[in-house]
Symmetry: C2
Subunit: 438 residues, 2 copies
């Protein structure tokens, strides 16, 4: 594919890492191809707000072609990568093949059910826009079905929501869901009282938000309880069915279960033929390449990088973006005959939102919680959203929701009127479907 | 269901007619139940902008519960009506039954393929949000697939779009689609030139927009041609396949076909057991009731009302809204022992938009076209949108699109990467599926 002897750089995945890498290659003479199976870059940190009816899908997604339209050396291909052949430097997609001189794998993660893939149907995870729209449908339909339900037990089951996993996604989903029931829906129903909704957050470890300092975990738990969320820690899930969640000898009847407990690498990393960690992430060298193939880079959530701290870096946007810049730089270095540099992560802190006026954050050695952390969270997320258009709309939606206690996207779409997992149609994000769906 | 002897009024359908009827019953002591199979009121006149990636679904839809939250005598039920038993004054839904003292049927229309239901898979119509999202997906994927296509014939087929039916929906779809290709996508692709896109509007009659004065039909045709649309009149469709559209002895290879040619009443009207017109619409009395059942009203697109002009009134929002007010008034009259009034339609004019700065409109004996008609169209549609929130966002989207030539919702969702009709999953809006899907 190398045209006029220009090197061809292929990037798989247009998330935070892949897009940053593509943008970092703007000024080069190399030919760049970005392959993604969706047509948009997704601002993942706000995905839970789509699931909870606060934002519309288009408000947190931008077409990759639009973002890169002025970058003339870069081509965007909408396709699904099926195989990477590192020996022959080629990738196979559903609709063709590409050869590369340099490859950046930035394929992210998908939900992991720890060997219980049959849970996927009942406990939906939050990885892409289709997941978010499906969660929104299930949550809103559960309230609708409860409204027309005559049996008190079934009504209670419909108004019980279990969120599994106390990481940032689980905390955000649980907090916002409780808010939705208590503030947004409270006057809309006639025969149910949305305030009687139970939202239960289940965490296997001894505290939620384990990646945060312990003091902030405690604050977050307090803020969640204040919003009406029941927080259960040191509790493991033993089964999930259409009827609810089994926690050892205890069973919680619940029509809606959300999954935020575990992720694993997209199965495509297996085709690289190199060492993976337990979650399927590629163990990368200090320069982000893989052993034996200095032209192949793996970045972001798909990579397991342990060199700096001894621990794998967390799967967050700042790691992916910094690695995207480094991978691009190392490719340019190689093209120019310079040595590759070691990646060094600069941790600027972390934040998680819980609900209205409630969040936790740390930066350097400073810790924040409550209203101040929440305002910091809002500000950072507006700034990092791509495009003036999305920033303006999201800002308007937030201001409007704050003052009216309404949500702008309370839509049930998809023609299905029943709560819980649909009988057919919906294909959960598991390894096999992701690699074969068209 | 009559509680404390209060009469029970059931309204089927939360479109323009049904919602207006519900709101007109606000001040009464009667108990009102509004049944709809979706959770939202849809602002249908802007649906084509969702299909053409200009607006997000939530921006033209409002939850019915939210709209009616303060109307304490009114209950909203999310359910599908399967049967109306006028003799026993009851309706059967997927999840229960309701008895009524008064019934307003406002179930609207669905696409009609004139006996060729197998066309539905290839020629998608535009009736609800799911249709609009599917059209958006097919149109955007066609460009994506053309970009990676190597064969010139197939590329040409992918870049040919046929819109069938020269009514307002067909005109709006064709004009906006041509604009999308020529202005919005023009710099985004590398191997195709979106300006080479063909958009063909096919009309069986001798002119497009037959419900408008002839001078405006001519203006509209000129404006469409100026936007690059090929307008074919007096041309009948003889077949539609996955490969394209057959027009008598001519075949147009086209991967994407949109249907705006015909509608028929929702099949539920058949269960009323009264006379229907050719399109399945219920022939109503002068007071909007049906023969023999003065407590049953049929309004909006589901009704065939010919008394005033000799011709059936058109299926447009103003007719439905005025009939909703009249049906509510006649029910109140009956409750208060007064006679029912005859419906009298006040025609305030009509308008259709074609594209950027292009529209046609008439009001009284005045006719407008071009920029002035377009500004009138924008103004009227912003005013009639429900809710400050939606008005503000749609206004912002329009201003932004006007100045940037971008579209705010260029999203492909639904995990499908291929153009044309999907192999499975999508259920077109035909009679049988609408009555049975759950």
């Amino acid at each position: 594919m190398a045209e006029n002897n220009k090197p061809h750089i292929v990037i798989i995945g247009g998330g935070f890492g892949g897009l940053k890498a593509a943008k970092s290659l703007k000024q080069t003479s190399a030919k760049v191809t970005l392959v993604d199976r969706t047509n948009h870059h997704l601002f993942q940190p706000l995905l839970y707000q789509v699931a909870m009816a606060g934002l519309s899908p288009a408000e947190i997604a931008s077409p990759l072609r639009s973002i890169l339209r002025r970058q003339k050396n870069t081509t965007v291909v909408l396709d699904e990568v099926l195989n990477i052949d590192v020996k022959n430097r080629s990738i196979t997609m559903s609709n063709g093949t590409l050869t590369y001189d340099y490859l950046i794998v930035s394929t992210g993660v998908q939900n992991s059910y720890f060997g219980n893939n049959h849970w996927a149907k009942y406990a939906i995870g939050l990885k892409d826009l289709d997941d978010a729209i499906e969660i929104r449908r299930r949550v809103l339909v559960a309230f609708e079905e409860a409204e027309r339900e005559q049996t008190p037990e079934r009504e209670k089951q419909l108004l019980t929501f279990v969120v599994i996993g106390g990481g940032p996604t689980g905390v955000e989903l649980a907090g916002t869901l409780s808010e939705l029931a208590r503030y947004v829906l409270k006057r809309d129903f006639r025969s149910i009282n949305p305030k009687s909704t139970r939202v239960i957050l289940v965490e296997r470890g001894e505290r939620i938000l384990t990646s945060f300092p312990k003091t902030l975990s405690i604050k977050a738990t307090e803020q969640l309880r204040h919003l009406g969320v029941e927080v259960l820690t040191e509790v493991g899930v033993t089964d999930i069915t259409a009827e609810g969640v089994e926690l050892g000898d205890k069973f919680i009847p619940a029509a809606t279960v959300l999954w935020g407990a575990g992720v694993q690498s997209n199965a495509i990393t297996k085709t690289l033929g190199v060492d993976l960690d337990r979650s399927g992430r590629v163990i990368v060298e200090k320069d982000l390449t893989i052993a034996g193939y200095p032209e192949v880079y793996v970045i972001g959530d798909a990579a397991c990088y342990t060199h700096q701290t001894g621990q794998p870096l967390p799967g967050v946007a700042p790691v992916a973006m910094q690695q995207g810049v480094m991978a691009a730089q190392n490719i340019l270095n190689t093209i120019e005959g310079k040595p590759r540099e070691k990646f060094h992560y600069v941790d600027k802190g972390s934040m998680a939102t819980i609900g209205r006026s409630a969040a936790v954050a740390y930066a350097e050695s400073l810790e924040f919680s409550g209203f101040l952390a929440w305002v910091m969270w809002l500000t950072v997320h507006i700034i990092f959203l791509i495009g003036f258009h999305n920033r303006a709309i999201v800002f308007f939606q937030w201001v409007w929701s704050y003052f009216t206690y309404k949500r702008g996207a309370r839509l049930i779409t998809g023609h299905r009127l029943h709560a819980g997992a649909p009988e057919k149609d919906f294909e959960p994000t598991t390894e096999s479907t992701k690699l074969t769906n068209k």
